[in-house]
């Protein structure tokens, strides 16, 4: 670690102007008036933009969100106005001089409240919004989208069941809390070119949306993304870029910088979705699952953004990695007056796994079957179908049972789920399985371009954003492996520039190695073909007689006869000066295949190319008197297909586990009765710190995914998925009461214990 890395907000430019946001102090209110007269008089102010100046609605699924609040505010922290000034403090001071009058509306403060009959409406014009993707809103309600999954016959499944369980589960919305707050610089040049520098996971999406909403030809828009200081899905949403562009345009196109304060990053920009769920599971006495009836009501907050896709994938994968023939699921995307949600590490899977894996433990308890044994009886396998009726194959899914067996050993399950340490302290273990697929557009695409330096070293250009996940290292490894050269000879461009780098859908969904890795392999093939072509002339043979490895193009029949790659990669020059060939440019691309849209009545379809599976465990030390606890061990075993970079794979999984434990133990917005977020600063919004972490154990098994580079499956998000459920299962065992809500703070455990005590009185 040198500290030399530069992030978006680290850069400055001559004449840089600064923007500051005024955000809503209310969760739901009519904007009666906005008086800018005092603010405009403030020193240094160049421009002020409010919603009415840019009355366009935005959204990647449904266009429901104004760039700046229009007519009303729908959540605490919603941007209302942006002030551009010569300096940051002048912009901030002027913001305080904007006088907004509000008429307060009643607040939709929970999913439950949003779904009441005759609810307060967050969006009155729901049915009139432009749908970018087909979604199913319900008139006069807060339901923005509904996914129905109908597999088999739920009545048959009920008839077959001998033991059933039902329970409610929930957790509040929370934040991504990336170390780098979101930051943008925007500039509109006199020739009409737009340059956006942004800490984004989706620079190509930013380009598309700036073009769409501001009616600018796409070729005029270039988006630049340097290293990104953590995103976790939160920087895949496009929000500040639109405000910054509007601010620059209002200030005569001058370059304008807009960086979120931590407070605005937490509530103003989109966060992590909340959930209220009900799960019913049934099984035979022998422990075979017969049906699942599931309600997922997602708290998308004030605007849909990715909320509807999260709702969809959670519905389509609703059961977790279990074979269940009869599945009924309604997954709803619900508007509330909470900060809006976007993609978050795990994308619906950590969310669905918490209720499902808690339900599995509750049913195992009723069946009096060991929780691991119960899961092993029901794990999904090649040949089975998912809830969306996709057929699973040896390639598109890994081995759940093998992961579970390995976790069982690593957590030392056989010593007992509970171990007494003293009259107060006990240690307990909990487990969880998981699966995850990514819901990508059916035409998501990526590209890779290779060029050669004079010394034969290679430049790799692609559209993946480097966000700490290390994809670019793995891409260099993939290319090095294919060309049989050392990876130090491969230079991957770190920054992304949408004008030069080939398109990559978005740096999300643990899919970059799969998508861009495949593109890199094709680019390598393309480059090899061109090198063989030139080499065949030099070596006086057919291109098919030549192969490339270890920086040489050589005769397959006699590898001692070769020409160095460096001597042909930019053309071959004979001793008399004549030259042939020309510079080699390797091109490769990738597009998702065989994905289909989903039937709206049954959910039938193929939403994803593959499912990564795994199993996890958490062991805690629990104080039976105070209900305080310590995290002792956390275990993950993933079917990685093929581990390409052991250290970074372990790092990704461990980081995700830490994030999952942080979410499960302490993260979650606290709202007052008016929908105000009480913990919008790190003073009160707490995350797991070093020293509070357990010992992490990460292991992999390898069932190759045949169409992935060297068999490697996505694993960037997955460590988060089962952590909340494994922890809740462990603590429920320890406390002897079901703990079905997050975050699992000691007070919540105390409440449940107290509830149990008063129930039995």
């Amino acid at each position: 670690m040198t500290g030399a890395a530069k992030y978006t907000a680290d850069f400055t430019a001559p004449g840089l102007l600064h923007a500051s946001l005024l955000t809503s102090p209310h969760a739901h209110a009519k904007i009666k008036s906005i008086d800018l007269s005092e603010a405009e008089k403030c020193p240094g102010v160049r421009a002020i933009v409010i919603g009415q100046d840019i009355p366009v609605l935005t959204g990647t699924t449904v266009e429901d969100r104004p760039i700046l609040a229009l007519n009303k505010v729908r959540y605490f922290g919603e941007p209302i106005a942006v002030v551009v000034a010569d300096s940051e403090h002048e912009a901030q001071s002027a913001c305080q001089q904007i006088n907004v009058t509000y008429e307060l509306y009643p607040v939709v403060n929970s999913v439950h409240q949003a779904l009441e009959s005759k609810p307060i409406l967050v969006h009155e014009q729901l049915m009139n919004y432009t749908q970018v993707q087909k979604i199913q809103p319900e008139a006069n309600s807060n339901i923005a989208n509904q996914i129905k999954v109908r597999k088999g016959d739920i009545d048959v499944g009920r008839d077959q069941s001998e033991v059933t369980m039902t329970a409610d589960f929930s957790f509040p919305p929370s934040d991504h809390a990336a170390m780098e707050t979101r930051s943008v610089r925007a500039e509109l040049l006199p020739n009409g070119e737009v340059h956006i520098h942004t800490s984004s996971q989706g620079p190509f999406m930013v380009k598309e949306l700036i073009s769409r909403y501001f009616l600018i030809d796409e070729d005029k828009v270039t988006v630049h993304t340097p290293l990104v200081g953590g995103g976790f899905g939160g920087k895949a949403a496009v929000q500040l870029e639109l405000i910054a562009f509007a601010a620059s345009r209002a200030a005569g196109g001058k370059i304008v910088k807009l960086s979120n304060t931590r407070e605005t990053d937490i509530t103003g920009s989109p966060g992590h979705i909340g959930l209220e769920a009900n799960v019913k599971l049934g099984a035979t006495k022998g422990g075979k699952l017969t049906f699942a009836e599931i309600h997922y009501n997602f708290n998308a907050g004030a605007y849909v953004d990715e909320g509807s896709d999260i709702t969809e994938i959670a519905g389509l994968n609703c059961t977790g990695p279990y074979k269940i023939d009869h599945v009924w699921c309604n997954s709803l995307c619900v508007y509330t007056n909470h900060p809006y949600a976007t993609s978050f590490r795990g994308y619906g899977h950590g969310e669905l796994t918490f209720p499902i894996e808690r339900a599995m433990d509750l049913l195992a308890e009723k069946l009096r079957i060991d929780p691991i044994a119960f899961r092993l009886k029901n794990t999904i396998k090649p040949g089975d179908t998912t809830p969306s009726q996709t057929k699973l194959t040896k390639s598109n899914i890994g081995n759940v049972a093998k992961c579970l067996e390995r976790v069982k050993t690593l957590i030392n399950w056989d010593e007992g789920q509970t171990v007494n340490l003293s009259d107060r302290l006990i240690r307990t273990k909990g487990i969880s399985c998981f699966w995850k697929s990514s819901i990508t557009p059916t035409d998501a695409t990526s590209g890779a371009i290779l060029t050669f330096n004079k010394d034969g070293s290679i430049n790799l250009s692609c559209g993946v954003v480097e966000i700490g996940q290390g994809t670019k290292t793995v891409l260099a490894q993939i290319l090095a492996e294919r060309l049989k050269i050392h990876e130090s000879k491969i230079h991957v461009m770190m920054d992304v520039d949408t004008q030069t780098n080939p398109q990559h859908w978005k740096t999300v969904a643990s899919s970059s190695v799969y998508m861009v890795g495949n593109a890199v392999l094709r680019a390598a093939e393309d480059a090899i073909q061109q090198l063989c072509q030139t080499a065949s002339i030099v070596l006086r043979c057919e291109p098919g007689d030549v192969d490339v490895a270890e920086a040489r193009a050589f005769l397959i029949s006699n590898p001692d006869k070769y020409v160095s790659v460096k001597d042909i990669a930019n053309g071959y020059k004979y001793t008399n000066g004549n030259s042939i060939g020309g510079t080699v440019i390797g091109r490769g691309n990738f597009i998702m295949k065989h994905l289909t849209s989903i039937d709206k009545e049954t959910g039938k379809g193929t939403p994803a190319s593959d499912w990564t599976v795994g199993a996890q465990a958490v062991e805690v030390e629990f104080d039976t008197k105070s209900y305080n606890y310590k995290l002792i061990h956390a275990v993950s075993v993933l079917d990685a297909g093929k581990v390409l970079h052991p250290k970074s794979a372990r790092g990704q999984v461990t980081g995700a586990m830490s994030m999952g434990l942080s979410w499960a133990t302490r993260e979650g917005f606290s709202f007052d009765k008016n929908g105000i977020v009480l913990d919008n600063q790190f003073r009160t919004y707490k995350m797991l710190r070093y020293g509070e972490n357990p010992t992490y154990l990460v292991d992999f098994i390898e069932t190759p995914q045949i169409d992935a580079p060297y068999g490697a499956r996505g694993l960037g998000e997955h460590g988060i998925i089962g952590m909340p459920a494994a922890l809740a299962n462990s603590l429920s065992t320890a406390a002897g009461v079901p703990l079905n809500q997050l975050p699992l703070v000691p007070e919540y455990i105390w409440e449940q214990k107290r509830g149990e005590a008063s129930d039995s009185n």
Binding site: H89, S93, E263, K625, N628, D679, R683, E692, P746, W750
Partner: protein, 280 residues
Amino acid sequence: MIPINFEYHRPTSITEAVETFQQLQLDGKGPLYFNGGTEIITLLRVNQFYTNTRAVIDIKAIPECCYTGFEDDHYIIGASIPLAQIETMGTFPLLGKNCSRIADHTSRMKITLGGNICGKIKYREAVLPLLLTDSELTIAGPSGQRHVPIHQVFDQHMNLEQGEFIVQIRIPKLFLDVPFTSKKQTKIDRISYSLLTVSAIKTEQQIRFAFSGLCNFPFRSQEMEKALNQCQLSVEERITEAIALLPSPILNDLHGSAAYRTFVLRNTLEETIAELEGES
């Protein structure tokens, strides 16, 4: 970023500090004495409190404020000594322990003892050991310097006259190494605001108790101490009596409900009493 401009003064003597304050006051600049500055900076940044401040007077360059050592029967700690330093000094272990649980280490390098006990924040756990040990404060102001028992100037908040600041804290030597406990519980994190802190010392006569995070302010209550020291009663009865004597309602906020705080308070008092009554 702090959007307003303010002056920064750094006097090197007590007199200079007091005079500077008076002048800035006359100039209408709403001056504040400034120690570690963590609270002023973070609250000004979000436009809460101190919003009329247009000048601060940093007292950290005043030698007396940075002094530590013994004087007669007292151990002296300058008001500008950072919590992180007190944590490592070891002379007054109870204070060191309380200081070690305030904020995070980076902040404790900045937060000073004087600053913590004068702050707006409701916890101020550093004051508990001072209340328990009947410490004195050296206060400087327009009318000169004075030694004052902390109980005279601290009632829920530090009540200083305009233009006054704390120069030093004077802790009676005899209390430095008495048996003590100090238990802080948070909502869940090691580093966070106090759900409840109970600090206690055992003197020859009795156990003394002081609390933070329980009510809207830190306090020591003679009435509660009396109740908690009734050795003829069971511990549970003493605790019930003491809870009835709380000086104000138990906090009910995002760190914990009043009912849960009561549960934690009972457990913590029980453990404190068991540990200190067990001490011979």
